[in-house]
Point group: C2
Chain length 191, copies 2
DNA sequence: TATGACATGTAATCTGTTACATGATTAG
DNA sequence: CTAATCATGTAACAGATTACATGTCATA
């Protein structure tokens, strides 16, 4: 079996399955949070779960509690955990920042429980490195937009992008500080 | 023919076709800008153009310049222009802010040329109205994340979202100010 | 016991991705 | 002339959306 390409929805499911859940549980969580971007329709989630099970990344067991409705609980297999970790730890490129930001944030959100606080901090550093050249690239496009022939709304759209990535860079530094403090506290505890 | 659902890629093409272009031109623009989110592969763009033509929203004419390669130039039809305008002017809901932000920004970027500066300002006001309750909803989730059982990375992800929407709200006000200044200047010119 | 919410799914359709194919034109 | 690039596409496939289908359990 070659590595098998898993779409974003699949990884979102893997990440959520760090806590064993039924398809219905997952759907509820997806539709009530921003994860609904990855789809919250049964026609997407159930087939995706079946594919993950087919590929040996999760395993479902039918729960037979007395007086309970039939529910199938899915759990990560060892293979599923390692696939999830490998996906989280993927290096972040300039292109990712532009097109897969949501996925990057999802990886970060999962990183601490699936791996460690150190892995979370490493992801943030990787993001910061990708962010710097990306922001520079955006800023370089600004002078061309100052041409009066370019409509104001097009220039403002670019400015919106620049601001949002600046804000993301600030958050990255803020988040890194928190992990650094945590690290120091942990060392302090040992003394 | 019922209104015919047009996917995001279709609207992105309609917007870009405010300037008549060939499929190849469009592909180049898409792959060199952030529009690549809507796909830059020929297998998506050419079929999408054909669908738009089938629905009477654009019309292609083969260009026969001497010593030029065969190129088909697509233009918006009257129906295409009105479909584009109607899409741009769609009201913005709280849900849109969470899941279709990219599309909203695309609509804004097109708004001034396809409609007017007034329409751009109206879109910004609509965005601002949707943003306020959405931000409130995000902020309400924060206390639950302060529970030490919740991993830091999950809380930080939420904070990232809050910050990015705060920054978007600031940009909205900044952009609105610019349109208001423009409006005053226009009135001043008439005096 | 009937109504509605729970839990799971399927089928038709559409769109996008990937990878390949084709001819025409320009550069070396 | 031949290699690259321009400009246009096609075919096979995977995945998502929408809408519907099924049975189970709680409650009124």
């Amino acid at each position: 079996m070659p590595p098998a390409k898993i779409p974003a929805l699949g990884y979102a499911l893997l990440g959520m399955l760090q806590k064993p859940s039924s398809g219905y549980d997952l759907r509820k969580i997806f539709s009530s949070t921003s994860m609904k971007t990855y789809s919250d329709s049964p026609g997407a989630i159930y087939p995706a779960l079946r594919r993950l099970e087919r590929d040996g990344l999760i395993r479902g067991t039918v729960e037979e509690g007395s007086g309970m409705r039939r529910r199938q609980i899915f759990r990560l297999t060892a293979k599923g955990i390692s696939e999830l970790r490998q996906w989280i730890a993927l290096p972040i490129t300039r292109e990712d920042v532009g097109s897969n930001l949501k996925t990057i944030m999802l990886r970060f959100a999962f990183s601490e429980t699936a791996m460690s606080a150190d892995a979370s901090a490493a992801l943030l550093k990787s993001l910061d490195s990708a962010l710097t050249p990306y922001l520079q690239h955006l800023r370089e496009q600004l002078p061309a937009m100052m041409n009066p022939a370019v409509p104001t709304s097009a220039r403002l759209s670019l400015e919106c992008g620049i601001r949002s990535f600046e804000s993301l860079a600030e958050w990255t530094h803020y988040a890194l500080e928190i992990y650094e403090k945590k690290g120091r506290r942990k060392i302090g505890d040992k003394l």
